[in-house]
């Protein structure tokens, strides 16, 4: 924590690529910051000084090959991994990496403050199998935030409705499909009413036919102005929803920019190679431009070509009935 007497050691550290997103209120400051973050696993240097600024209502996509450090970065933000060096700031709460005192009461309490503000959605869902859907959602608000049971249930039902699973309220997770499980996991994160959502490859464990329903929910959240940091291999999602795409390679950001730049006109040859492999060589054309692959059910916003993020003003007022299974989502999220 910084105090008045010690100067902020990270005062000069900035994410040079960050600029307020299309939905960010004017004058807003970054809500999530990682400051010169480094992480070693033993002697393996996984993150090599990562600085990331995320403004409110932005959606940030982290892409990169496996082992590049993108999931580690995400897990460092809510301290599921204790960073080795650097600091994390979420909604004004600054926690310095302190691996030598990771078990100190004070440090752990600070981490808890971060975790309440930054909710994670996991690749493997990690729903609690012994609890019904509704109990999965209210467990943490009731036991951790001290919300009353009735209040927690009301909030949980609101978000279950948002992900389109109100009728699964009293089911056990094992009775749900993978896509439904992940939507419940998203609702569980939302029920904590966090400031930012962290998605760790949320569709990678899903059957391809179930990817679309999860991406639809995430799309919807992005357009409603939720702040999201998404580790993903879904380039169509990144192009459609991201304000900025960060390509990470060997623990550093190699190329950052709006999706139409990073995904369609990557400058760095390594970015180009990664995208070619991810999207399939057939989609890479001479200029380096990449065309969206056929996505079938996962085709994001109904018909038509992918939209840039700039026209979000229009999106917000679009009739929601365009999304068949998301038609009941209403209003903007407070995130």
């Amino acid at each position: 924590m910084t105090t008045n007497t010690t100067p902020d050691p990270y005062a000069a550290v900035r994410d040079e690529w960050a600029r307020p997103g299309a939905l960010t209120p004017t004058g807003a400051t970054p809500i999530v910051r990682t400051l010169a973050l480094e992480k070693y696993f033993g002697s393996n240097h996984v993150l090599r000084g990562v600085t990331l600024d995320v403004y409110p209502r932005e959606t940030i996509c982290l892409i990169g090959r496996s082992g590049s450090g993108k999931s580690t970065l995400l897990r460092c933000i809510n301290f599921l991994e204790e960073p080795t060096v650097g600091a994390v700031e979420v909604d004004g709460v600054r926690v310095n990496a302190d691996p030598l005192h990771a078990r100190d009461r004070n440090h752990r309490e600070q981490i808890r403050q971060i975790r309440m503000r930054a909710q994670m959605v996991f690749q493997e869902f990690n729903l609690f199998p012994h609890l019904k859907v509704i109990d999965n959602l209210i467990e943490a608000p009731v036991r951790v935030k001290g919300v009353s049971r009735d209040q927690a249930i009301a909030t949980a039902e609101k978000y279950l409705d948002k992900v389109g699973l109100s009728e699964k309220r009293d089911e056990y997770p094992a009775r749900l499909s993978g896509g439904q499980k992940q939507r419940v996991a998203i609702a569980r994160a939302l029920t904590m009413e966090p400031k930012v959502l962290l998605f760790d490859e949320p569709t990678s464990a899903l059957d391809p036919t179930l990817v679309g329903e999860v991406l639809n929910v995430m799309e919807e959240l992005a357009h409603e102005g939720a702040t999201m940091i998404v580790v993903t291999h879904e380039m169509a999602f990144a192009r459609e929803a991201a304000d900025r795409v960060y390509f990470i390679e060997e623990g550093v950001f190699l190329e950052v920019g709006p999706p139409e730049q990073v995904i369609e006109n990557p400058r760095d040859p390594r970015t180009r190679e990664f995208l070619a492999r991810t999207l399939g060589a057939a989609h890479v054309h001479q200029g380096g431009a990449i065309h969206e692959p056929e996505r079938g059910a996962a085709h994001l916003h109904g018909e038509g070509p992918a939209h840039g993020r700039d026209d979000h003003g229009d999106h917000d007022d679009r009739p929601l009935s365009g999304h068949a299974d998301m038609g009941h989502i209403e209003g903007r999220d407070h995130l």
Binding site: R112, P129, A140, R143
Partner: protein, 284 residues
């Protein structure tokens, strides 16, 4: 609809019986007869061996059936004590085991050391020695133990012993809960204590319930050891009658038969419970 499609189980189900080819019926019939024969021989073999042994004893004039009949009800009366000692002991053993397992998984060196000492000490000495120690040796250190009922001392010895064995069972069960469960709970901001109590332990208990069933069945049999300190359970009653009338054969056959019957019944109950749990696992 042709006959062959009927044999393959055509949708709709109500295919006339005549549509099934005779060979299919013949196979099913043969299989059922074989199964019935197998079961019959299985039971017959038991009867021959047990009945033969008993007949041999009778023919040799070695066994007094009238005496057995007379005292069997008295020995059966000990089943109540046996069962309540076993039930209470297993319940307390579970408490010991939970704390033992938490200690074995603790990063606190003192807690880890204490629980490891407990497990090593108890598993390294015979149960009979532990029972006698608590009954005969402990009063020399703390005299008030003399005033504690024998049943309580017996239950304490049994649960202390079983708690150590079940500590390892619980530890394995806790470790078998997927890592993602803890991470999800952490990410939701739950402190360690709530994580363990609300998320990990309930799932661990589910995983080890079959093992607890086995421990209970063993406990019913091992509870016979507390007869040596005079807890009036099944074996104690059998011994009392047998020794005073010099009829050890008759009374011990009765006692053994009752233990055996109890074990078979409890195993059946356990099978049922496991099957039901497997079903609800499909649900959960």
């Amino acid at each position: 609809m042709t006959a062959s499609s009927g044999a393959l189980g055509a949708p709709g189900g109500s295919v006339p019986a005549s549509a099934t080819p005779p060979i299919v019926l013949a196979i099913a019939d043969q299989r059922q007869r074989q199964r019935r024969r197998f079961r019959l021989i299985f039971i017959a073999t038991w009867f021959v061996v047990i009945g033969g042994a008993l007949l041999g004893l009778v023919a040799g004039g070695k066994i007094d059936f009238a005496f057995m009949g007379e005292w069997t009800p008295y020995i059966i009366g000990g089943v109540t004590t046996t069962i309540y000692v076993a039930v209470i002991s297993i319940a307390i053993a579970i408490v010991f085991a939970v704390f033992g397992a938490l200690g074995r998984l603790s990063s606190n060196s003192i807690l880890y050391s204490l629980s490891t000492l407990y497990v090593s000490m108890v598993r390294g000495t015979p149960l009979l020695v532990q029972i006698l120690f608590i009954y005969l040796a402990l009063p020399q250190i703390v005299p008030f133990v003399n005033d504690v009922p024998k049943e309580v001392l017996g239950i304490f010895a049994l649960s202390f012993n079983y708690g150590a064995y079940m500590t390892e069972t619980f530890r394995a069960g806790i470790q078998a809960v997927p890592r993602g469960q803890t991470e999800a709970a952490q990410a939701l901001g739950m402190p360690a204590q709530i994580r363990m109590r609300r998320i990990v332990l309930p799932q661990a208990v589910r995983i080890i319930t079959p093992a607890i069933g086995n421990e209970f069945i063993s406990m019913v049999k091992d509870s016979s050891l507390v007869s040596v300190i005079g807890v009036p359970e099944l074996l104690w009653r059998a011994q009392r009658i047998g020794q005073s009338h010099f009829k050890g054969l008759e009374t011990l056959i009765v006692a053994a038969g009752i233990y055996w019957g109890l074990t078979i019944m409890l195993s059946l109950v356990q099978d049922r419970l496991e099957k039901r749990m497997a079903e609800s696992d499909r649900r959960i």
